[in-house]
């Protein structure tokens, strides 16, 4: 069985994919991944996930400009400039 290995470098950080090992069960996978990915103390924790358990998702359709959901959908520079100018010329 192929186990995908995810490695956390320091506590608090995200787990990142590191590679995979072929092992007959979780026990062997643990013994082997422990040494392959942590023998220099380079990992705080590992996740071992059977490859078959991963549900792969990719590809998003974005045909009609959904930029309003992101920061690059907003160019406030010109409007901000105008607003500032008006504010400074407005009598107090």
């Amino acid at each position: 069985m192929i186990y995908e290995i995810f490695r956390q470098e320091r506590k608090g950080q995200a787990f990142e994919h590191a590679g995979s090992v072929v092992a007959p069960n979780a026990e062997f996978a643990e013994a082997w991944a422990r040494e392959q990915y942590g023998r220099r103390g380079e990992s705080a924790a590992l996740w071992l996930v059977p490859r078959d358990a991963i549900h792969d998702v990719e590809g998003w359709a974005d045909e009609f400009d959904l930029k309003y959901r992101r920061v690059d959908g907003y160019s406030i520079k010109a409007r901000l400039k105008e607003a500032r100018e008006r504010a400074s010329s407005r009598p107090r």
């Binding site: 072929v22 026990e27 062997f28 013994a31 082997w32 392959q36 023998r39």
Partner: protein, 201 residues
């Protein structure tokens, strides 16, 4: 006490030396990496204990004659074959646990060693589980059993027999030199012996 500690350190040194021979040729690449770490750990344990016993750990590790080593014959055997290698690892870890437990109260470094050995035991037990029904593994355990008994003190052998599940037999005692040990000693000291005083390694 020093005699016991020297026996422990020599056991760890020599089993580490023997097991390191698998580096690069173990049955699976994944196991190769794991097995090599264990060998390195054992040598690290030997070094820690030698440092308690002498100012120069290297001198103690390398510069004695073969008859001066106190290691059990179990660890001296040259077993470059997986069933016997893994049978030895398993028997050694069970014996080592009993022996170290008895030392922990008086020798702080033994407790430290014990914490690292926990992983070695998990590894040995995992292999034992997987191969216990393999005829090659079973005959290797039978063959090595008298040697395993020699790792622990006579009063600890009943416990070892109970844990391994085999009746006690006559042990191959510490102080016996396995014929293969001279060749190992020759090889492990050859570079060191090759240069006169003033050499640096």
């Amino acid at each position: 006490m020093n005699e016991l500690l020297l026996g422990l350190a020599d056991d760890e040194l020599v089993i580490g030396w023997r097991d390191s021979e698998w580096t690069g040729i173990a049955p699976m690449l994944e196991e190769d990496v794991a097995f090599s770490s264990i060998a390195q750990n054992e040598i690290g344990h030997a070094r820690a204990v030698y440092e308690l016993l002498a100012a120069d750990a290297d001198a103690l590790a390398f510069d004695r004659s073969p008859t001066e080593y106190r290691c059990a014959p179990l660890v001296q055997l040259h077993l470059l074959e997986w069933a016997r290698t893994i049978a030895r690892r398993w028997l050694y870890e069970v014996a080592d646990e009993i022996r170290i437990a008895a030392l922990m109260a008086e020798v702080p470094v033994a407790a430290k060693i014990n914490r690292e050995e926990t992983y070695h035991r998990m590894h040995a037990e995992m292999w034992h589980e997987r191969l216990r029904d393999e005829p090659r593994f079973r005959s290797a355990v039978t063959e090595l059993w008298p040697y395993a008994l020699g790792v622990v003190l006579p009063e600890q052998r009943g416990e070892l027999a109970a844990r391994v599940g085999i009746d006690e037999v006559d042990a191959v005692e510490r102080g016996t030199l396995d014929p293969s040990f001279r060749a190992l000693h020759e090889e492990m000291t050859m570079v060191r012996r090759s240069a006169p005083a003033g050499a640096r390694w």
